[in-house]
């Protein structure tokens, strides 16, 4: 007589483990974050300065309105992303300590420059994802 195969890990336990793992590893995917929009026109960032709250993760949405690609680069933020011509790209930054973090367009570093200012804020931006 063939005995039914017993699973090594019970189904309930497996479900709990999977849920825990999902909530741990996919937490960043589900958390709501504040969005900040930057435009790139004529190889210049608009606005060139953005202020974000300290110790919070935020999303930068960069809209490249030029007909050439640009690479958003920042050594202090440790970010590096190509934005295609007439396209948008998103980058998550933070949580960050208060301070100034410079960024630039790698293909036009003389003109495309900007700063992320991180400071303690009481109010949050209304544009929440």
């Amino acid at each position: 007589m063939i005995r039914p195969i017993q699973p090594i890990i019970p189904v309930k336990k497996l479900f709990v483990i999977t849920t825990l793992a999902f909530s741990l590893f996919c937490h960043p995917l589900l958390a709501a974050v504040v969005e900040y929009h930057i435009q790139l026109r004529n190889h210049l960032f608009f606005p060139s300065q953005i202020t974000i709250p300290a110790n919070k993760k935020v999303k930068l949405v960069i809209d490249n309105q030029d007909n050439t690609p640009e690479e958003f680069d920042s050594f202090s933020l440790n970010r590096d992303k190509v934005i295609f011509a007439n396209n948008k790209a998103s980058i998550f930054i933070g949580p960050l300590e208060p301070g100034k973090y410079d960024f630039f367009g790698e293909y036009n570093p003389n003109t495309a420059r900007g700063t992320v200012i991180v400071e303690h804020q009481k109010q949050e931006s209304p544009d929440v994802n």
Partner: protein, 259 residues
């Protein structure tokens, strides 16, 4: 435009040169192998660039970062295969190792070279940039060739003095650095969380300057690495070294017992 082109070469072309030199010395490869690697790499690069907009849309806009990170991970794993083959050396595996090394070069060409194509493709059509871009290309290539020659001589000397494990260790340090430096790609698309900064040595050797670029290519130097990067770097470097040292000791003692 001149400086941008030179910096782009330092950042994206130098890693290709360094890997090719290390593998060339490590495997005592032929020039045909080198030419074949570049042809396959260039072909894969063209396919990648051709599909980059499609890849970019994968995984909710995270496709490029994921593909670049996976290619670095794959290069790291291939380097481990090279180390494994050093422990269990067999002449029949010689061509297999050429394939492994060729794949490493091709993947690096895809991940690093794609940036070049985007840059040149986007700006070559603009007026008044051709001259400075060409000058930057000559300067950048000159720097890369000079450094590659120095590294070639150093790697060759190390291999003569200490054997193939020395050149493999150089490869391991290089691929570990590249793997760890690609971790921020996962952070910037919110695949993993940002961790606290382990230290800040921007005032000592900044990543913005030439030495920062060079050290970043050679051993993955970061002026302000995160704690996760430091942990991954330590584990990815020390674990294979410890495992292969132990395997090497075991295989030596086994072959000694048989005799």
């Amino acid at each position: 435009m001149l400086i941008n082109t030179v910096i782009l070469f330092l950042r994206d072309a130098l890693p290709i040169f360094v890997l090719v030199v290390y593998l060339y010395v490590h495997l005592q490869a032929s020039k045909y192998w080198l030419a074949l690697c570049f042809i396959v790499g260039a072909f894969l690069n063209l396919i990648y660039i051709n599909q980059i907009h499609v890849i970019g849309q994968w995984f909710d806009g995270r496709g490029i970062e994921l593909s670049l990170w996976l290619s670095q991970l794959f290069v790291y794993l291939l380097a481990l295969i090279l180390g494994h083959r050093l422990v269990y050396s067999a002449s029949s595996y010689r061509y297999f190792l050429y394939w492994v090394a060729g794949l490493m070069v091709s993947l690096t060409l895809v991940s690093k070279g794609s940036n070049f194509i985007l840059y040149f493709d986007g700006y070559l059509n603009q007026n008044n940039v051709l001259q400075s871009m060409l000058l930057g290309t000559f300067l950048g290539l000159g720097i890369c060739f000079s450094l590659a020659t120095l590294l070639y001589l150093a790697a060759k000397w190390l291999k003569q003095q200490l054997g193939p494990w020395a050149t493999w260790s150089l490869i391991l340090v290089y691929v570990t650095g590249q793997l760890v430096n690609s971790l921020p790609l996962l952070v910037q698309v919110d695949f993993i969380d940002e961790s606290a900064t382990a230290w800040n040595s921007q005032n000592f050797v900044s990543n913005e300057f030439e030495f920062g670029h060079l050290f970043s290519v050679l051993f993955g130097y970061q002026a302000s690495p995160s704690i996760v990067q430091v942990i991954v770097y330590t584990l990815a470097l020390l674990m294979p070294l410890a495992i292969f040292y132990w395997l090497n000791l075991n295989s030596t003692s086994h072959s000694g017992n048989k005799q």
